[in-house]
């Protein structure tokens, strides 16, 4: 009888240990004297404090040890503050519950939930933790401190708001032209030739705003769906390239791009429209960033062997090129390699190309030299089939 009970208790203990060992969140429970009587494995992983360093310690000491690992700017307020918050929360939840019957259930659910507070650790690594406290009423457990790693969420939040403020800033530039020039038109007597120039500027800057907004939406859509809306089909990369180039209109009546080395077949599994969009962006950049002219050529290239075999659509221009520093920043949202401010663009085109190619299982490779030109390659895996093994591509 007793041995059965012991066995069941042991089993239960092992179960709990396994659950806590697997939990990504850390826990410390405290006895009636507010000394730690249990430390979960995740707590050590998150804080670098081993159970042996923590077990038996009073909450004051644990507080001090955690604080010594936080950034000085955002010190943790401590257990006492968390308990005060909890008490205040309970009081308001209780008061509301009496007057507001409909919201009562929700409030009650919120009542037991711990208030969370974020702290930033600098040791053992840079980490943002969310702390919560629950109070218990048993002799064995007076309170439980829980820790959740929110480093990733915090970083994503930061990047989102940074992106938003950059986007807003990028829209302000064309808005400044549109707002200012239209005000000049209304309030000043401008010469006829000035009026024409004003209208042309307003039109050009509005077009820029439209492309920024469209490309922002494109990027958001691509990122949200992560390729789930891609309609994959088998097609020949060379044929697709020829089609896109046929429809492509070079700016300022420049010579159309030359397709070189289209011999052989290069079957790939891609979304036709998305790949055409990416290729179109690269072609249009090749012209924009070679304002002095020069040929723009397209090559079908290959690399690797066996299952690693890749085909690439390569676009070369003889334009302004990029310095190594500029090249390193390529693909950053809103980054423009044109310091003169004369080449139009949103700084989003390459980001879109990169997203599309990576979602198609390929990669974007760019080689460039300042003053000499740029070579952009959209690498894609060859569609796996018997035919693919027999493909012989002529190198450019």
């Amino acid at each position: 009888m007793i041995s059965g009970l012991v066995a069941r208790l042991r089993e239960r203990g092992e179960q709990l240990d396994a659950i806590f060992a697997l939990s990504p969140d850390g826990f410390v429970s405290f006895d009636a004297d507010r000394c730690a009587n249990y430390v979960s494995p995740a707590f050590e992983r998150l804080t670098g404090l081993a159970p042996a360093q923590v077990l038996g310690l009073h909450e004051h000491d644990i507080e001090a040890r955690l604080r010594s690992r936080t950034t000085t700017g955002q010190a943790w307020r401590g257990f006492e503050a968390l308990r005060r918050d909890l008490a205040a929360q309970d009081a308001t939840a209780g008061a509301d519950g009496e007057t507001d019957a409909a919201g009562g259930a929700e409030k009650k659910a919120a009542k037991g939930a711990p208030r969370r507070e974020r702290i930033e650790l600098v040791r053992p690594t840079q980490r943002v933790l969310e702390l919560g406290l629950r109070t218990g009423s048993t002799r064995a457990i007076s309170q439980v401190l829980s820790l959740r790693d929110v480093t990733h969420e915090t970083e994503v939040d930061r990047m989102k708001s940074e992106f938003l403020s950059t986007a807003a800033h990028e829209l302000r530039t064309p808005m400044t032209s549109i707002f200012g020039f239209s005000e000049l038109m209304m309030r000043r007597k401008l010469k006829p030739e000035q009026q024409e120039e004003v209208l042309a500027t307003i039109h050009r800057q509005t077009a820029l705003m439209i492309s920024i907004v469209n490309e922002l939406l494109d990027l958001a859509r691509i990122e949200a769906r992560r390729g789930k809306d891609f309609e994959l089909q088998r097609l020949d990369l060379g044929e697709l390239a020829a089609e896109v180039m046929h429809d492509f209109k070079p700016p300022q009546e420049r010579a159309p791009p030359l397709l070189l080395a289209a011999a052989g077949v290069a079957p790939v599994r891609v979304d036709r429209n998305k790949l055409a969009q990416a290729f179109g962006n690269v072609l249009s950049n090749a012209y924009k960033y070679s304002p002095e002219g020069g040929d723009v050529s397209v090559h079908l290239v290959q690399a690797g062997c066996g299952h690693e075999r890749q085909v690439g659509l390569q676009v070369r221009d003889a334009g302004i090129g990029m310095t190594p520093e500029q090249l390193a920043r390529l693909g950053e949202r809103f980054y423009r390699a044109d310091a003169s401010g004369t080449i139009p663009g949103t700084g989003l085109g390459v980001s879109i190309v990169k997203e599309i190619i990576e979602l198609l299982g390929g990669r974007l490779a760019v080689a460039s030299r300042a003053g000499q030109g740029t070579q952009v390659t959209l690498w894609l895996p060859l569609a796996e089939n018997a035919e693919a093994a027999a493909v012989e591509l002529e190198m450019a």
């Binding site: 302000r172 808005m175 200012g180």
Partner: protein, 134 residues
């Protein structure tokens, strides 16, 4: 004739500023980055400098402003900062750099004209070009 220097990387915006102020009797000069703007100011000693805050290159508008105000040979030109950054901390950074005014983009050309007039009334006349040229 008072000399005005416009330092801004976007050519459309340089023209916007020039046309906004075109009613007065001014002589305009332009630069498209911070370093070129500072060099032009040292050569031209303008009465007023319109300065974009964020420009490509090593020197942003705030740095140019600090140097303009610190150089005793420049005769303290009036500086209007133009910036797409609209937060209070950005404004304060402008004031700390010694700017006389801070306009956020988009700005009103009429307002800019009024502001420029006001600042130029209290500014000293432009000295002759290349006084020590020999």
């Amino acid at each position: 004739m008072k000399r005005i220097l416009i330092v801004e990387d976007q050519s459309d915006l340089r023209r916007l500023v020039r046309w906004s102020l075109d009613e007065g009797d001014y002589e305009f000069h332009e630069a498209n980055n911070g370093a070129a703007g500072l060099a032009a100011a040292q050569r031209l000693r303008p009465a007023l400098v319109l300065l974009d805050v964020m420009m490509p290159g090593e020197m942003d508008g705030l740095e140019v402003c600090r140097r303009l105000k610190a150089d005793p040979n420049l005769g303290q030109p009036a500086v209007i900062l133009l910036s797409a950054r609209a937060q209070r901390s950005d404004r304060e950074a402008g004031t700390a750099a010694g700017a006389d005014a801070y306009l956020t983009k988009p700005f009103s050309p009429i307002e800019l004209t009024e502001l420029a007039k006001r600042l130029l009334q209290s500014a000293p006349k432009a000295p002759a070009l290349r006084e020590r040229d020999d």
